[in-house]
């Protein structure tokens, strides 16, 4: 069953893999934004995660530790963001940009001499005979653990935000920090934890790029994935399950365009490779534009205190 040299089952399986980095980064950023913090430094945290994960995995020979290292690297960089925006009340957009610029520089500094090395292999989860089921086996049971982890973490975030007390507090802080403060919640602490979670997820997403998706270290490995993750949060209107849909949509487009490039499509390579970015813009336009009397759908659902710093004067 092939269409123009592209097997749909393999395509679905590979889009699931391709979308893991943006899924992880986007679900992390969703939590951060739900707490009322806009961290546009996802790209920087991802690339730091990519290099930290890569160095850890190559150093220890253990790919699992690599992912841990990536998460730690991303979280460490996000701590800088948290300190600047929460303690020193710096502008969040500017600080996020600084995070990205610094992360890109630092990562290529750390990666000196690691180009061309192959990281230890992360194997697929052994599902035994299940993986041999035609079509479904390839789609569902042939992946590495991070693919399943990314879905599980989305489910967990959805559950926590919806049913757990911690999720309620997080949302309260993101919707109205003054009211949350008046109720006795530690706005700064909640936001710090959310930012760290976002950093760890972005870092892990980055590590997935350098350990599995590519898999090697090159400068600027993220190629804007962090920014696409930010766009996906808008696309998802801050709803966890829609992050999954958005992530798979973008994963699908990037895999499809790569396949079209490989199968020698008549469309020039440059136009194919710019398609994920153009489609991101298109999706943002659709999600942000007013639909009838509903007005701005995306903005309606945005956390009310998004991007505002909190300073308890009393």
């Amino acid at each position: 069953m092939d269409f123009g040299g592209i097997n749909p089952a393999v395509l679905i399986a590979s889009l699931m893999v391709a979308s893991v980095p943006i899924l992880l980064a986007a679900i992390g950023e969703l939590v951060v934004e739900k707490a009322g913090v806009l961290n546009v430094g996802v790209e920087g945290m991802m690339i730091i995660g990519a290099i930290c994960g890569f160095l850890t995995a190559v150093g220890t020979g253990n790919p699992y530790l690599g992912f841990l290292g990536g998460a730690a690297g991303g979280a460490a960089l996000s701590l800088v963001f948290a300190f600047l925006t929460q303690a020193l009340l710096a502008n969040q957009v500017a600080t996020g940009l600084a995070l990205t610029l610094f992360g890109l520089g630092l990562s290529s500094l750390m990666g000196q001499g690691y180009n061309g090395i192959r990281p230890p292999l992360t194997g697929a989860v052994p599902f035994g005979p299940l993986a041999d089921i035609p079509v479904l086996g390839v789609i569902l049971f042939s992946h590495d653990w991070v693919v399943y982890f990314s879905i599980a973490i989305i489910a967990a975030v959805w559950w926590v935000l919806r049913y757990a007390r911690a999720g309620l507090i997080l949302r309260a802080v993101g919707e109205n920090h003054d009211a949350a403060h008046a109720l006795g919640y530690k706005v700064g602490r909640v936001r710090l934890l959310a930012i760290l979670f976002g950093g760890a997820m972005a870092g892990m997403g980055g590590a997935y790029l350098s350990l599995i998706r590519v898999p090697q270290w090159t400068d600027g490995i993220t190629q804007g994935a962090g920014w696409i993750a930010l766009a996906i949060v808008v696309f998802a209107s801050w709803k966890p399950w829609r992050v999954l849909i958005g992530g798979y949509l973008f994963g699908g487009i990037s895999v499809l365009q790569l396949n079209l490039q490989a199968s020698g499509s008549r469309i020039p390579v440059e136009y194919l490779s710019m398609s994920p970015y153009l489609i991101t813009i298109l999706v943002l336009v659709i999600m942000s534009s007013g639909q009838g009397r509903g007005g701005d759908r995306a903005a309606l659902n945005a956390p009310a205190a998004l991007g505002q710093n909190f300073h308890a004067s009393r």
Binding site: T95, A98, E270, M274, L278, I281, H311
Partner: protein, 360 residues
């Protein structure tokens, strides 16, 4: 306990002093970074900040200062207007590339005609290319309320693809025996942007940067439009009561910053870079964001910040050839500068109280 107390008005002293404090802190932290990399920190800092100005090769490197500072200042001036109005154009890199591609296309289309009109036409085309690329996020923002941060950034990647298409395809030198890259403008006098005074690095782009600084200064200090830009950023509601049209503000700020970035691109490609190549852009559009903040979004400040940042580029290149410092270290160093700047900026708006008592 350390607590922050909001100042009734931002401190004028700290507003001027924070960039200097930030630079000093960055030198300290950068020195530590270089020490970790196994270099002598004092030597590294001296190579970056002192040698280009007063060292052995200063006669040549001082000229390079203007070459690097020109595009940085030109782009940062445009960005600062938007940042002041709360409009975040972070896609200047893309506008810079599109300016270069548009300008170079006009110049190369005229090849080998010799006419005095070609260079001005290229400049106009470059400004138009950058303006066009800046107007995309502006129109999407005003029509569909799309986030300009994300759109302008996505367009950087699109512009990079167009650049590689230009270098490998439609602008490739037909006599270049298949190598990527366009004809060199240095061999085509009607379209080239030469050094105006030998040894100074002064070219038309630097002249344009100085003019932009003067115009921006007048705009912000003396013109109603500058007042509206500042008002829109500081008090959007008051601005609306004042009759400031937010859509017009967005179009204007993104349009101006796009056009200035496009100008920087065409001056660069016709001058110092010489040709369209896959990687002729070296991230000026992103570094200009740091320049704009380091200059406190003030035209005169940006002029100084642009020169300082140019110094780190040149000093960084020297440090990488003389001391073997990786060139990425300078990029990290520049990012660090923005961190410190944002961190010490707290002093402008807040008083720091130690051991404050009596807070209920």
């Amino acid at each position: 306990m350390v607590t922050l107390e909001k100042r009734p008005t931002p401190s004028r002293f700290w507003a001027a002093a924070t960039p200097i404090v930030a630079v000093i802190l960055t030198m300290l932290a950068g020195g530590a970074l270089f020490a970790v990399l196994g270099k002598n920190p004092f030597e590294a800092i001296r190579t970056i900040f002192w040698d280009p100005l007063f060292g052995e090769f200063a006669w040549y490197l001082r000229g390079q200062l203007l070459v690097k500072a020109g595009p940085l200042i030109l782009i940062a001036i445009g960005l600062s207007l938007g940042f002041r109005a709360g409009i975040w154009n972070i896609g200047a890199e893309g506008q810079y590339i599109m300016g270069a591609v548009f300008g170079a296309s006009v110049g190369l289309a005229a090849y080998p005609t010799e006419s005095r009109l070609i260079f001005p036409a290229m400049i106009l085309a470059g400004a138009f290319g950058g303006w066009l690329w800046g107007m995309i996020p502006a129109i999407l923002k005003t029509r569909f309320n799309t986030n300009e941060i994300l759109v302008s950034l996505m367009l950087v990647y699109v512009a990079e693809k167009i650049l590689s298409k230009a270098a490998l395809g439609f602008l490739r030198n037909p006599e270049g025996s298949g190598f990527p890259g366009s004809r060199n403008f240095k061999d085509y006098s009607a379209a080239s942007n030469p050094e105006l005074i030998a040894g100074t690095g002064m070219h038309w782009g630097v002249v344009a940067a100085f003019i932009a600084v003067i115009f921006a200064h007048i705009l912000l200090q003396r013109h109603i439009l500058g007042f509206q830009i500042k008002l829109a950023g500081q008090a959007p509601r008051a601005a609306r009561f004042h009759g400031v049209n937010p859509a017009r503000m967005i179009m204007l700020c993104l349009g101006i910053s796009g056009a200035l970035a496009g100008l920087a691109g065409v001056f660069e490609v016709a001058g110092p870079a010489g040709q369209i190549s896959i990687d002729f852009n070296v991230g000026y559009g992103f570094t200009a964001i740091i320049v704009a903040f380091l200059g406190r979004l003030n035209p005169i400040g940006i002029l100084l910040a642009g020169l300082l940042m140019a110094l780190t580029y040149i000093g960084g290149e020297m440090a990488s050839t003389n001391l073997g410092l990786p060139s990425a270290a300078i990029q990290a160093f520049q990012g660090m500068l923005l961190f410190f700047l944002l961190a010490v900026d707290v002093l402008t708006n807040f008083r720091i109280r130690m051991f404050a008592k009596g807070v209920a």
